[in-house]
Symmetry: C2
Subunit: 233 residues, 2 copies
DNA sequence: ATTAATTGTGTTATGATGACGCAAAGTTAC
DNA sequence: GTAACTTTGCGTCATCATAACACAATTAAT
């Protein structure tokens, strides 16, 4: 018996991986965290961080672990959005991947390549390279899902600092949705939801009038949601 | 070498399955298609139709095939909604399942148990038994996803006959969403979308005034959608 | 014919949305 | 210091979508 292949099954098994599309925001535009592959296949090509699931972890725990190992980034909220299972998506063997997404503020994380990755860095979402495997289509799917979910979940707040201005929030929504809002209508709508807490501080970094700083109150958001209140951003 | 276990890998592999939550409608209430398991584990318990993925099919092709084999029901539109990967969700080995849903008119399908299923039948969604594995939580997740997607996709029309009245459509939406609409406002809103085609026929089966029969024009729907028209049901 | 059930259309009040005006509060240039 | 410029916060108004309800038209049952 081949010692290299000691895990044997009655029926053929596909390998299972988790991949991560990590969105980051710097106040201006969206970025995605990619790694440069250090091993074959697709050695030297950029790809989504991810890897093979172990037997003692769920697929989402796998996504978090692989992301940490390959990029040094440890993210609490990682969520699956689709499973990709084309028969020939990996040249090595049959591999099915469960794609996840996460949203973070870029400034909170120090990116360090590790494991099978020779590099890890943020890429502006408008200037992406061609990716390994079917990761291009996974990424496009992630963008579509993000645009849909941002309307109903407060996931966008993960991308901002603890304290933020309405303008920063607006720039974020505009970057994700690819549209422009009227500044004054956005202000009214977002403050009218009752989930932003005004702080006793202002943002004096801009050139004009200082903007009121707010924080997002997740408990308040959940309370409203449980009451059945309609919350659409 | 054990001839029983001839598929060997360098690293342990989880088994991969597809499960199906098939929703059916009979004009009054929603039902789900379940099978009674004929083999261990959970022999004699009711479960979602589903089974192990082959190496030459995608996970969604697997869902369709297993559904056909176990229930005799062949459904074109089956869509994945979530992957379940708890470490101990199957007592035999590590099994990860990609859950799918489908929506059909009950009258279109003749249900016949096959394969590892000893029975297959429709269960009213309000009177379900306790299911095998973690299928209870998969089913609850499917209901939640269905309620969300029905607002933005015309999936509900799969549950109705080719020709239907506005009242039948309303009963369907009420069954899925668990709410009551004002009959007259629903009528105006749904006809105003411009995706229903009035036919030269009326439904004379009811007790009062005969209702206008409509059909759903999918081409028209897609045309409107591609034009960027907002379509919310 | 009368009654009851059901459908199709209209009316109205209310609230949300989108486009825009304008003053207040800051910074920058001189 | 002051004028010019930038940005923020609040208000107004027309328009559209929604919800609640009235009422006439159509059909079956009696």
């Amino acid at each position: 018996m081949d010692n290299e292949n000691k895990y044997c099954y009655k029926y053929p098994h596909a390998a299972l991986t988790a991949d991560c599309v990590v969105f980051g925001f710097d106040g201006e535009s969206l970025a995605v965290l990619l790694i440069e592959r250090g091993i074959e296949p697709f050695k030297g090509r950029w790809a989504l961080p991810g890897g093979f699931m172990r037997m003692d972890e769920t697929i989402t725990e796998c996504a978090r672990r692989e992301l940490l190992e390959e990029t040094g980034v440890d993210i609490e909220f990682v969520e699956q959005f689709n499973t990709f299972s084309s028969v020939d998506r990996d040249p090595r063997e049959r591999v099915v991947t469960v794609a996840h997404y996460a949203l973070v503020r870029k400034s909170d994380y120090k990116v360090m390549a590790g494991d099978d990755a020779v590099k890890a860095k943020w890429w502006n979402i408008k200037e992406l390279p061609t990716l390994a495997f079917d990761h291009d289509s996974i990424l496009r799917c992630a963008e579509r899902v993000l645009r849909e979910r941002i309307h109903f979940e407060p996931i966008g707040f993960n991308l901002l600092d603890e304290k933020f201005t309405i303008s920063e929030l607006q720039r974020l929504y505009e970057a994700i949705l690819g549209v422009q809002f009227d500044r004054r209508n956005f202000h009214k709508k977002i403050t009218g939801l009752g989930i932003l807490v005004p702080l006793d501080e202002k943002d004096t970094s801009g050139r004009g009038r200082s903007g009121q700083l707010y924080s997002f109150n997740e408990r308040e958001y959940n309370a409203l949601k449980n009451k059945g209140m309609k919350l659409e951003f």
